[in-house]
Homo-oligomer: 205 residues x 2
């Protein structure tokens, strides 16, 4: 595989997903850090040279650039056990990855960023007004995951896949956004299973 | 392939994506309609029997159910020319599909639903307050697509892929949400190329 460079902000769970996939697969990953709170991904250099969308993560593969965490995880994991061999299960894994980006991350990750990282005093009026809606949608996403995990050890098939890694990243720090994980016992046990996997790495390192 | 049933609302662009993929590939698709404006996807029957997330589209494959439009499109298109054969291009296609669900659909599709379907008078205060932010983010997504298409006939590789189909669905009706597509000339020509493909079907039929 060509040289891999992760353009990231270490506080981002979306970036952590890619580091977690690389760790599970034993792939070497060079890291370049940007501080999103200082606008370091909106500079002309970043927009022209890394990603026109001005956001991290971006996985650099040789001299090509891949934005969106799910796409980068897929690129790294193709041909590995992290992507199920069965056609329906493979699509079902993508279902959970799209679920994460549409129903989970904009709520669970955003409230962590707003309340746990920026802090309530630093929010705009529009952000403050959006908190209750994001809270309700985030709780709904966590409840749906918990109900699924009542009958399954992992999200798809019999072992961990990219779906679990994508959902682990922001769920395991959901308390930083004010979500009470003790309300979701099956989710809690799944978080434990994920952290106990060989190859697992913590978010901060 | 097992019998395919699309659980859908005909006004939804996310459902149209799946019908468009099936049309391009000549796959028969039975259709079951639900009216999301009447809450028909939040009934106990739908939640227990079709999708616990209470949303359409859901692709039924035999007796299994697949939510999230991108996952359903992937399931149908595996092994076809709508998914690039090259590993990097395949991941880059997923990048555009995740971009669509995160940066495009919540803005371009939501404003079409709020302003073009519900109508401004029917919006809640929270929805009304969210319009300017969604407008700006939707214009940014369209501008990014337009810039990419300045140098490419299709989003990835040399021909149409699931990335084009995913992005076509809500872009071609963006004017219904008040977006002025004449500001994006490359986008306009790409919409024309997509509609001229053999196998293309319109959204309403």
């Amino acid at each position: 595989m060509e040289k891999l460079i992760l353009h990231e902000d270490p506080i981002s769970g979306n970036c952590y997903k890619i580091r977690l996939v690389a760790a599970h697969l034993g792939l070497p990953l060079e890291r370049r850090a940007y501080d999103i709170r200082k606008g370091e991904t909106r500079t002309p250099e970043f927009l022209a040279g890394v990603s026109a969308n001005g956001r991290i993560p971006v996985l650099q593969v040789g001299d090509r650039f891949l934005a969106e965490s799910g796409a980068a995880c897929w690129y790294l994991a193709e041909g590995s056990p992290l992507i199920p061999a069965d056609r329906f299960e493979r699509a079902d894994m993508l279902h959970w990855m799209f679920f994460e980006q549409y129903h989970h991350e904009p709520n669970v990750a955003t409230l962590r960023f707003w309340l746990g990282i920026i802090g309530e005093g630093g929010l705009s009026d529009a952000q403050r007004a959006a908190v209750p809606g994001r809270r309700a949608a985030g709780e709904a996403a966590l409840a749906l995951m918990d109900a699924h995990l009542a009958g399954h050890d992992f999200f798809v098939g019999g072992g961990p896949s990219l779906a679990d890694i994508a959902l682990y990243a922001y769920t395991h720090v959901a308390d930083e956004g004010g979500f009470a994980l003790e309300h979701y016992p099956h989710l809690g046990r799944w978080l434990g299973r994920m952290a106990a996997l060989p190859g697992h790495i913590p978010m901060e390192e």
